[in-house]
């Protein structure tokens, strides 16, 4: 049962990503990216990481993509559509993609994946791991967690400084 859902989500993800990078209209591309995030959240749920799935939707779809759309809306999309869409670098891209694909193939071939857990699926309840995630995040991985927060804070301050400089000029 899960495997069909997985193929549905994974297929949807590939399809929407392909559509996303081939659209000329940036707004359409952004909306398709939101759809991709949805399919990814579906895959997370199948992997038993429902907290991550909700974070994926809340932060990426509901937060970051809205900001993207916000800034895209301020530019003139019709002009952007008429601009050159291809840089005629197909050969370079193809070679790079093949190399990257081979690399991923080689690395993934050596990894031994744990057998997928067989959840007892029912509509009444889902297996929970929110508490476990919180406990691990604030004990075992506290240091990386804090480092990530400080990095984000630094990026935020940097963005504010850059934005403020243009306002003051």
């Amino acid at each position: 049962m899960e495997i069909y859902f997985f193929y549905m989500f994974a297929g949807g993800m590939i399809l929407t990503s392909l559509l996303m990078v081939t659209r000329a209209n940036v707004i359409h591309a952004a909306l398709l990216l939101v759809l991709t995030f949805f399919f990814l959240a579906g895959v997370f749920v199948l992997a038993g990481a429902e907290f991550l799935a909700a974070v994926q939707i809340l932060l990426y779809a509901g937060g970051i993509m809205v900001l993207y759309l916000f800034s895209i809306m301020l530019m003139n999309v019709e002009v952007a559509v008429r601009m050159r869409q291809w840089h005629r670098q197909g050969v370079v891209v193809f070679v790079a993609a093949v190399l990257l694909g081979l690399e991923i193939w080689a690395v993934l071939g050596e990894v031994e994946f744990a057998a997928p857990k067989q959840w007892e699926w029912s509509l009444g309840a889902t297996p929970g791991n929110v508490e476990a995630l919180g406990a691990v995040l604030y004990t075992k991985f506290l240091f990386p967690f804090e480092v990530a927060s400080v990095l984000l804070l630094a990026a935020m301050i940097g963005a504010i400084v850059l934005a403020k400089r243009t306002i003051e000029r």
Binding site: A54, I57, G63, L74, L123, A125, T126
Partner: protein, 323 residues
């Protein structure tokens, strides 16, 4: 239970909930018109049926039969999808809301988080509508609403953390059970105030209805919409008002559980509390003038944000000391 049977039961429940919600929404609009009319010493709808009771049906029929206009310069696909993108998240959230001890569609252990995540998607429909209409009023409304909803979503998310710390679960049904003795509003008054203000802003209700400020922006992001598409925006607004009220009831007012000395079924308690919330929403619209945009942002970031952070800190501190 057999899988197929389970799915069938869930489908029936979904059918009931979706239809009841839409009917209730239609009558909420009627109640809103009546309450505001009486607040302004008018009578409101009186012609269709006794005291205008059939007005929502007439309005619905009118909207169904109206000509459906898509502006020439509009982006057709996005323009048509936008009302759907507003309504669907508002209705999907009902999947996890507990209406009584036994009646709910499903319970998931990230219930509250699911509600926050899905309802954060409503802003997409608004932004899509504003952009696709290709009209300056719509675009301005959409820009305003994107900034407003993003900011207030943060306060909304932080204001629920206090009650969550007390309940120790994201499952909405368990949060209700945790309040059997004392409603969390007594422990978390500050969180409730922030939650309520953020809820008003999230649902674009007065005094924060800047995205559709009719005095400046005609009708904001849905200026160019007509017929059923326009009705979708209306349905979504009221459906998400009920969602956010239900979340408020679950987090702060004991959900479907009432005091023991008045033996009423859980569902009746839920409906009573929901009615009070809805009345306050409408009452505020009749009473308060609209905030200016810079005031809205200032209140949010410089007052509510520090307040809610302080609340989380104090809750954690007191919980560590006394529990």
């Amino acid at each position: 239970m057999d899988m197929a049977l389970e799915v069938a039961v869930a489908a029936i429940k979904i059918f009931i909930v979706v239809n009841v919600v839409q009917l209730v929404v239609a009558y909420l609009i009627y109640v809103e018109r009546k309450v505001i009319a009486h607040a302004q010493l008018r009578l409101g709808p009186m012609r269709v049926g006794w005291h205008g009771l059939l007005q929502p049906i007439a309005d619905g029929l009118k909207l169904f039969l109206k000509e459906d206009i898509v502006p020439d310069k509009a982006d057709r696909v996005v323009f048509v999808l936008a009302p759907v993108m507003v309504l669907v998240p508002a209705l999907v959230v009902y999947a996890v809301l507990p209406f009584s001890a036994t009646f709910y569609i499903t319970q998931i252990n990230i219930g509250l988080f699911f509600v926050l995540a899905i309802s954060s998607l409503g802003v997409f429909g608004v932004v899509m509508a504003g952009w696709a209409s290709n009209s300056k009023y719509s675009l301005l409304g959409a820009l305003r609403s994107a900034a407003q909803m993003l900011s207030y979503e943060i306060f909304l998310g932080f204001s629920v953390i206090g009650p969550l710390m007390l309940a120790g679960s994201l499952n909405l049904q368990e949060i209700v059970h945790a309040q059997r003795d004392v409603w969390f509003v007594f422990y978390q008054p500050v969180a409730f105030i922030v939650f309520f203000v953020a809820a008003l802003a999230e649902t674009n209700r007065a005094p924060f209805d800047l995205p559709e400020a009719e005095t400046e922006l005609v009708a904001g992001f849905h200026t160019e919409y007509s017929g059923m598409k326009f009705a979708f925006f209306f349905l979504a607004e009221y459906a998400s008002m009920m969602v956010i009220s239900t979340i408020g009831i679950v987090l702060f007012f004991g959900g479907w559980e009432g005091p023991d000395f008045i033996p009423l079924p859980g569902f009746v308690w839920y409906v009573l509390k929901l009615s009070v919330f809805m009345f306050v929403f409408i009452w505020l619209r009749a009473t308060l003038p609209r905030y200016r945009y810079d005031q809205l942002m200032r209140v949010g970031w410089k007052f509510m944000f520090p307040l809610v952070m302080l609340n989380i800190f104090l809750t954690g501190f007191l919980k560590y000391l006394f529990l």
